[in-house]
């Protein structure tokens, strides 16, 4: 992530690596890096019940990162109620697992009409943080299994794949979490070590594989959907590594809590892979990367007889040719209803590029470019969603500190939303007409209301979840 390089250098300059570090403070967002929506939906709205947030602990302020499940119904209640409780109402030394009065600032015009009690706290507040568990530092991605029962995180700090089973309701984690004993300071419950796959010594693969590079992203899907045969249960998990390799895990948990097994690592892909995206119904993942105009593709071939002999293979790369110059791509999203179309978030040029997946461009190695729309400086993450019958692309732009909104059907940029500090990962809940954004620089989650899009209006920031903590305050 190019934009964060200088910050990294700044933050690591004064680190003392010999100490054990500070335990994570409960209910504290710390450089949220990745988001995912739960599979479990609210029957009333059709929207996701939970938002999962991976706190990267990017500045190594704590000795661990954390994974959160946020109750979106509760958040919605507070947003609608206009809860604007201040930070003091949620003491950090509370023993309560859920902070009932999480500071939530709204920009709702009706704020002055909210019922406020004498302490200045709304009477209608409800828990938002459903659960929080400690994980390693520097989670670079977050993927939810198709069945919605596991989360996978590529951990750059530990060079492993962390997996976290989710309870049936979707709002709790089952990773044998426990607080550390005898540390003499407060701590958050942490996932047990056995929920880290691919780690040294933790591999059961007959191929004796070792992960050497740093994980950068993770995607998952069902084995049965990519040729594993009807008998094949479980998921495949692909984890990209920054040394040009991709690791294949098979997670045949079948309802248990077995560890995903690392079965193959393929090499020869671009270094500096940023993100991956699974082509629907095809065992091929597309990858974005920095420093090359190549969109690499890794294929999965499942051996239905002996899954441990399954392989990754180089499915052939295509070049993002015909643009100037396509040598820095940051995200890749397939069209939500038409898998022959996909969108690439490019930094050279800074644009959302629509491609025709199965068509070729000027040369046989070029993918066909259908359209491209400008976005702001430092485009970082992309999501595409259909809202009220119209397909929109949303691009977070870290350096521009803005969110760009493109009406894909109309083929035009239609909105630019500011007010962010470090917009990074985004997810769109089309049913709720909400966009959730990890505002990396200030360690908050932003809630963007998309409902006005269908009436020709513009999205607006509706709420900020978390206490603003600008990077500059880290040295305080």
């Amino acid at each position: 992530m190019r934009s964060l390089g200088p910050i990294t250098a700044l933050l690591l300059f004064g680190c003392n690596f010999s100490q054990a570090g500070i335990n994570p403070t409960e209910n504290t967002l710390n450089f949220p890096m990745a988001l995912a929506l739960s599979d479990d939906v609210d029957p009333a709205t059709g929207g996701a019940r939970y938002l999962y947030v991976a706190n990267s602990n990017f500045d190594l302020r704590f000795n661990a990162g954390s994974l959160w499940a946020l109750d979106l119904d509760a958040m919605e209640d507070q947003v609608l109620a206009g809860n604007n409780a201040d930070a003091d109402a949620c003491p950090l030394d509370t023993d309560a697992p859920n902070c009932e009065l999480w500071p939530l600032e709204t920009f709702d015009d009706g704020a002055s009409d909210r019922p406020i009690d004498e302490s200045g706290v709304t009477n209608q507040s409800v828990p938002i943080i459903s659960q929080e568990v400690g994980i390693g530092s520097h989670a670079d991605g977050l993927a939810l299994s198709v069945r919605g029962d596991r989360l996978y995180l590529p951990m750059r700090g530990d060079r492993d794949l962390t997996f976290v089973p989710i309870d049936q309701g979707g709002g709790g984690f089952n990773c044998d979490q426990a607080t550390r004993e005898n540390e003499g300071e407060p701590d958050i419950p942490r996932c047990a070590d056995r929920f880290r796959a691919g780690h040294d010594g933790g591999v059961a693969s007959e191929r004796e594989l070792t992960i050497t590079g740093s994980p950068t992203d993770v995607v998952t899907g069902r084995i049965v959907d990519i040729g594993g045969g009807q008998e094949a249960a479980g998921d495949f998990v692909l984890m990209s590594l920054d040394d040009g390799r991709v690791a294949l895990f098979l997670d045949r948990h079948e309802g248990g809590d077995n560890s995903p097994e690392l079965v193959h690592i393929a090499d020869g892909f671009p270094t500096n892979v940023i993100t991956m995206a699974i082509e629907p119904s095809v065992g091929i993942a597309w990858m974005t990367s920095v420093g090359t105009s190549t969109l690499a593709r890794v294929g999965i071939s499942i051996d239905p007889v002996n899954p441990r002999r399954s392989f990754l293979y180089n499915a052939g790369s295509v070049r993002l040719g015909g643009v100037d110059d396509g040598e820095d791509t940051r995200d890749f999203v397939f069209h939500p209803t038409d898998p022959s179309r996909a969108f690439v978030l490019s930094r050279r040029p800074e644009a959302v590029v629509e491609i025709a997946v199965n068509r070729r461009g000027f040369t046989q190695s070029d993918v066909a470019v259908v359209d491209l729309w400008e976005v702001g400086a430092g485009p970082s993450r992309l999501d595409v969603a259909e809202i009220d019958g119209t397909t929109y692309a949303f691009a977070s732009c870290f350096d521009a500190q803005r969110l760009f909104v493109i009406d894909v059907d109309a083929g035009a940029l239609i909105g630019v939303l500011g007010g962010f500090s470090g917009p990074f990962d985004i997810v769109v809940d089309a049913a709720r007409e909400r966009l959730y954004m990890a505002d990396f620089s200030t360690s908050v989650i932003r809630v963007v209301d998309l409902s006005a899009l269908s009436t020709g209006g513009a999205p607006r920031i509706q709420a900020r979840f978390g206490e603003l903590r600008p990077i500059s305050s880290l040295t305080d």
């Binding site: 990519i226 040729g227 594993g228 045969g229 119904s281 095809v282 065992g283 091929i284 294929g299 071939s301 499942i302 051996d303 239905p304 002999r309 392989f311 293979y313 180089n314 499915a315 052939g316 015909g322 643009v323 100037d324 110059d325 930094r347 050279r348 040029p349 800074e350 644009a351 070729r360 461009g361 000027f362 040369t363 046989q364 470019v369 259908v370 359209d371 491209l372 400008e374 702001g376 521009a400 803005r402 009406d407 109309a410 083929g411 035009a412 940029l413 239609i414 909105g415 630019v416 269908s454 009436t455 020709g456 209006g457 513009a458």
Partner: protein
């Protein structure tokens, strides 16, 4: 002269004009723009401190330089919309008021302040009478703003005068995309409602509330009006001399109309005001395959033009002479250029309503598609430029020393492409009479030295460099054999005829010309100056079909004595042909079918064994003492792309039914046993030559006749494709032609070795192009072109690059060059 590049890149002039400065002081100007998009112009009277008619800033005709003393008290300005910030900025381009540059509209604030006009401003126009700029945006409510232009010009400005005129989104949500002014009316596109909105402008810039009749709903005719079909080749403005090939584009067949929606979706506007008393508004429709025409005197829709595809941009030329000879009077024509919404290609429509061909899409290329300009990448913007041209009766005579391929005087089209390059297209070259030193060229002895071959044709990309050689093969073609390189002589023979075949003379077919052979052609290729491509053709015996190599093939049991080979790529698209689908007649009759070749070593799971299976597998692969293996060759009996989801595919795309290995005594079961894991394979021809070019396209790449049978899924020879010269494979004793390359092979030599003929097509004329990404910097910066605007007042092209360069001012006459950038 060796021409190694297809496109002339004009990035250096600015770099030379602004070399890196010495010293330690950082004098870089901070970037002021934030995603500029649209541009408009106005003239400022610096002495009076007021607006002046735009013509007051005109550069004297024929003088491409700055500094006209008569303009001492005039300054040319541009206004540029800023997408990200929702502003319009003023840019001082010329004049004595101060240094050219971006204008800060509020000097009290740090940094650059511009006029805030709402979210995502998309289009702008300038009204001199009221001194206002009008801006519409795609953001909230589709707002129309008025900006008092003087308020953003004055150097002591203290904030812009901006007024919200109207929310166009009331009551329906709309996001206007284009704005045009004709007389005292503004015309706004409303794509969501399929309407054009007319708004009148008061003398003070006020805009009264529109009436119901000001909303003009565009038609969606059903049935569509008939396409105008050409029965004869249209008049051709073309000058090809000095040895260049002269090929006329064939008439295109009418296209089947394509619609991207059921109702009109107006997107961009172009005004036809040739008759000021009866202006016509042309509307590009992104949904319907028609171009709407609106009579602005009655504000009613005229019969639309059926162009078979939706369009996203238009550009109209003035009348231009039909003859290349200025003394000849062959009348004039007008043309309407458009960007095809379906693929961003560019086409041209005959636009002279006094002509029966009015509305016809014209042939512009000798290669398919004949009705699309040969531009490599999708177009984002179009603009007609008329430097030094004020109608057919006012063309100044050319001057030889000022004429050349990079000089643009007359009428031209500029096309901004996805790749950040501006390309130029000839419409009428006023300097043509001075071009070409050869006797058959109009320039004769007056042309600049070195300007030998001339190729100028209407609607064709402009050739941008002097050339002195026609398209040819360079170096001479040669055979690569296992024994070494064998040169092909001019008569087709070679020095090792026992191992490499001869080339036989042939008559170049169709639109191909000779590129090698003396005295008779041996190799024929596309020699048309605009259609030729610098690329390398290979003719490989038993060669690999391009893009069939994979490391992820899976072997599965078949029926009888066969194996199934499953791969993830589309075999029919790649041109694979099994022996069972070889036709009984035609050039492929008798072909043995392609083969699958296992090129990889035995898999780790076999090599890890220490038993009879490993021993047997190593026998089959004939492992040598050095560890090398002999690839297994499996004849393809059937190649197919079954329906998606076929369970036998195991998630793959294609399936080959193959027989036992050739030349190796082994069963299919043994092969299966030896390769229990994914395997590396490729598909090769068998006893035939694979002919492929290094690029892809109509006559490039591996041009084959194989297509998927939609009923059976089998890869079969498509008779229609074969009839289009998509031969793919060449055979001994046959003449080969794939539309891009033609040759005739002699009989097989007695001791044939695996041989590959290589022919590199060179000396392709370089086209005039402006690579925005290479301007003013040694390092390439990304560019994203968004709009082009020709300013008749200073005869400059303005290019807006959203990525890095901002607003570029491009000189046209003399030689195309960027002279200023504003960002």
């Amino acid at each position: 002269m060796r021409l190694r590049l297809r496109h002339l890149v004009l990035g250096l002039p600015l770099g030379l004009a602004f070399p890196a400065c010495g010293g330690n002081t950082n004098t870089a100007t901070p970037v002021a723009f934030d995603r500029p998009e649209d541009v408009s112009f106005f003239c400022w009277n610096t002495a009076a401190g007021e607006l002046a008619p735009l013509d007051d800033c005109a550069t004297p005709a024929g003088d491409p330089t700055e500094g006209n003393p008569e303009m001492a008290d005039r300054a040319l300005f541009a206004m540029v919309t800023q997408t990200t910030t929702g502003e319009i900025a003023a840019v001082r381009i010329t004049g004595e008021l101060g240094e050219p540059g971006v204008v800060d509209s509020d000097v009290r604030l740090p940094g650059f302040t511009f006029a805030a006009v709402g979210e995502v401003p998309s289009a702008m126009t300038y009204d001199f009478e009221s001194g206002s700029a009008f801006v519409v945006g795609r953001g909230v409510g589709g707002e129309l703003f008025r900006v008092g232009v003087p308020s953003i010009v004055n150097s002591d400005a203290q904030g812009a005068d901006v007024t919200l005129v109207k929310r166009l989104a009331d009551p329906d949500p709309v996001r206007p995309s284009a704005l045009a002014q004709v007389g005292r009316n503004l015309y706004v596109t409303l794509p969501e409602t399929g309407q054009i909105l007319r708004l009148s402008i008061g003398a003070d810039g006020s805009v009264p509330e529109p009436a119901a009749e000001d909303y003009l709903s565009l038609s969606a005719p059903d049935p569509l009006p008939a396409q105008v079909e050409l029965t004869t080749a249209p008049s051709v403005y073309r000058e090809v001399c000095g040895g260049a090939s002269n090929v006329t584009p064939p008439l295109p067949a009418p296209r089947t109309p394509v619609s991207l929606g059921a109702t009109a979706e107006p997107w961009e506007l172009e005004v036809d005001d040739l008759d000021p008393a009866a202006p016509v508004l042309l509307v590009a429709d992104r949904a319907l395959p028609i171009i709407h025409r609106i009579d602005l005197t009655t504000y009613t829709e005229l019969a639309p033009l059926n162009v078979a595809v939706p369009t996203r941009a238009l550009s109209l030329t003035p009348p231009v002479p039909n003859s290349t000879d200025p003394a000849a009077d062959e009348g004039t024509d007008r043309y309407l250029y458009a960007i095809d919404e379906t693929d961003r290609s560019v086409f041209v429509v005959h636009y002279d309503d006094a002509d029966p061909e009015f509305g016809a899409v014209l042939p512009v290329s000798v290669l398919e598609p004949f009705d699309r300009m040969d531009l490599p990448f999708g177009a984002r913007a179009l603009e007609t430029m008329t430097p030094g041209y004020d109608g057919p009766d006012s063309i100044a005579e050319c001057v030889g020393s000022e004429s050349g391929p990079a000089a643009v005087r007359g009428v031209f089209l500029a096309v901004g492409s996805n790749d950040g390059t501006v390309r130029f297209v000839d419409v009428y070259d006023a300097d043509l009479p001075c071009r070409g030193t050869s006797d058959d060229c109009p320039g004769g002895g007056s042309a600049t030295a070195g300007d030998e071959l001339v190729a100028i044709a209407r609607h064709h990309p402009r050739i941008g460099t002097q050339t002195d050689e026609p398209v040819t093969v360079d170096p001479d073609p040669e055979w690569q054999t296992t024994s070494g390189t064998v040169q092909v002589r001019g008569d087709g023979t070679n020095s090792s005829q026992s191992i490499a075949p001869n080339l036989l003379p042939l008559e170049c077919p169709g639109r191909l010309g000779s590129v090698y052979g003396d005295p008779e052609p041996l190799l024929c290729a596309v020699t048309d100056p605009w259609a030729a491509t610098s690329q390398t053709w290979t003719v490989a015996y038993d060669g690999t079909l391009p893009f069939t190599s994979t490391t992820g093939a899976s072997l599965q049991p078949g029926t009888d004595d066969t194996l199934l080979v499953l791969t993830g790529s589309d075999a029919c698209e790649r041109g694979v042909l099994g022996s069972g689908q070889v036709p009984t007649d035609g050039p492929l009759a008798g072909y043995a079918g392609d083969v699958v070749v296992i090129t990889a070593d035995l898999p780790p799971s076999i090599l890890a064994l220490d038993d009879d299976l490993r021993t047997r597998c190593e026998e089959i692969t004939a492992r040598t003492a050095g560890g090398d293996i002999t690839p297994l060759v499996l004849p393809i009996r059937e190649a197919a792309v079954p329906d998606e989801g076929d369970p036998s595919l195991l998630g793959n795309v294609s399936r080959f039914v193959v027989g036992p290995p050739l030349d190796v005594p082994a069963t299919v079961q043994e092969v299966l046993d030896c390769y229990p894991e994914l395997v590396e394979i490729e598909v090769r021809a068998q006893g035939a030559f694979v002919v492929s070019g290094s690029l892809v396209g109509a006559v490039q790449g591996f041009v084959h006749p194989i297509a998927r049978n939609t009923t059976t899924g089998l890869c079969e020879v498509d008779a229609d494709l074969l009839a289009e010269n998509r031969r793919g494979r060449a055979f001994f004793g046959q003449e080969f032609n794939n539309g891009g390359l033609a040759f005739s092979l002699g009989e097989a030599p007695p001791q044939l070795e695996v041989a590959t003929l290589t022919a590199q097509i060179r000396e392709v004329p370089i086209r005039l192009a402006l690579d925005v990404s290479s301007i003013g910097s040694a390092a390439s910066t990304p560019s994203l072109l968004v709009s082009l605007a020709y300013n008749d007042v200073d005869e400059r092209l303005y290019v807006v690059d959203q990525a890095v360069q901002g607003l570029l001012r491009v000189r046209l006459r003399g030689s195309v060059a960027v002279t200023q950038t504003f960002r």
